[in-house]
Subunit: 235 residues, 2 copies
DNA sequence: CGGTACGTTGAGTCATATCAACCATAGTGG
DNA sequence: CCACTATGGTTGATATGACTCAACGTACCG
């Protein structure tokens, strides 16, 4: 079928996207291809909701997803983003806990849904894969620790500079130095833990200082070195 | 030898302390007992330092250890505590990254030092153990996410109430409702990400409200329900 | 006995949150 | 086609939580 062709096959997708599945054996990849379900989502669709039980996890083929927790007063706290090659919800699957986050689409995406049991079975059957998964979780843990320290100790201004640089690193710039991810001011605020108005004011401060340029939601990075300095408390 | 007797044997310690090693097979436990090194540390000793390469990890037999990151201005951010049955530094060992935290003794402790290679080999040889280790890492990741959300969204007052409850849950109360962990005001500040003076002021506010009692460094919990309410923004 | 680390309190300041008003844009339905 | 509504962005005024700085008290320790 024509349709079929457009499905990403894991044994092609895994190495290209650099996903964790590149550590699977051919037979396991075949099994994965057989069991997975290809799905498309559009902006603001929700993949799963915190508190819910999870029957599987997702591997992102294209698009961007934000993963957030809802605070007691209903405010979103964005924990991380997932893009091509990333997997989400694996935490809940592996620890067998209810989802502690919600996943919502930021840029239209294509993902594979993979039943929970298959992940567990790979962990049990493929030690290298298990180790890689551990590396992944431990790496994320390290990043979480860094984030905790920053959010606890740095000013909003410093955190904003940091997040811009993080977005550059993770999503890159286009040919005109515009960030390849588009976020609302509120979403930016929900990453660094501040008010929307503060983000707006600080962004326009950065603009006036000539570090960035703003075209609506698009952000152009002019002087990442300066942002680096702000982040490191040197300015 | 007399000395030998005082060494904790992992096959006894693991089930009692509820450590991750309870999932090992007898032969593996034996290997662990053979390879591990028993060590004692006193208050303010450092087990390992951030940035350093790690040749092994630690399983805590007794005592309390604080694990923290040092912020850019030298301020400690306490990430977690480790007590009987907990393992530390496993993150760096598994992800093969330099230590991103420092571990310092809060209450005199006895630990086993375990060479890195043995952990990796268990992950490879024992799928159940690997899975349990994944559960552990994923659970910690979930806790980190919650902490990020709290620190980003809650007031210092709310966080202080929360941390007191967390310390009750994790370390318990003695017969007179005193916390079984002793921290300096500065250490408390370094958990919740605030200034020492703020902790002092808020603690004495809680005292005046009759929620707690203070005897130097010892904290007596009188009304945990009230603290619960503060934490949940209900008061 | 002096030193060092910890605890406490007060005063002043500042970064950031909050509240309110307003504008721009786009989608919707009559 | 146009009012209508919702969403997101911006700006200003004001309030305040929390930090900083400084001084001083306290307790333990060699």
């Amino acid at each position: 079928m024509k349709e079929e062709d457009s499905f990403p096959l894991c044994d092609k997708c895994a190495p290209e996207a650099g996903s964790i599945f590149r550590h699977l054996l051919p037979a396991e990849l075949e099994q994965l291809n057989y069991r997975k379900e290809f799905r498309k989502f559009r902006r603001s669709d929700v993949l799963y909701r915190e508190g819910g039980r999870i029957s599987g996890f997702y591997c992102v083929h294209s698009g961007i997803i934000k993963v957030f927790k809802t605070g007691s007063d209903g405010k979103e706290q964005i924990i991380r983003f997932a893009k091509t090659g990333d997997i989400i919800a694996y935490r809940s699957v592996l620890s067998n806990e209810a989802a502690c986050t919600t996943a919502k689409v930021i840029a239209d995406c294509e993902v594979c849904f993979i039943p929970a049991d298959i992940l567990i079975s790979f962990v049990k059957s493929n030690p290298v894969f298990a180790h890689e998964l551990l590396k992944l979780a431990c790496h994320e843990l390290g990043e979480a620790n860094t984030f905790i320290t920053d959010i606890a100790q740095k000013t909003v201004r410093e955190r904003l500079a940091e997040i811009l640089l993080y977005l550059v690193r993770d999503f890159g710039l286009d040919e005109n130095n515009y960030l390849r991810i588009s976020l609302t001011r509120e979403e930016i605020a929900n990453i660094i833990g501040t008010a929307t108005e503060s983000v707006i004011r600080l962004l326009s401060e950065f603009k006036n200082d000539g570090f960035i340029e703003l075209q609506g939601r698009r952000i152009r990075i002019l002087n990442s070195r300066a942002l680096e300095n702000i982040h490191n408390h040197l300015a």
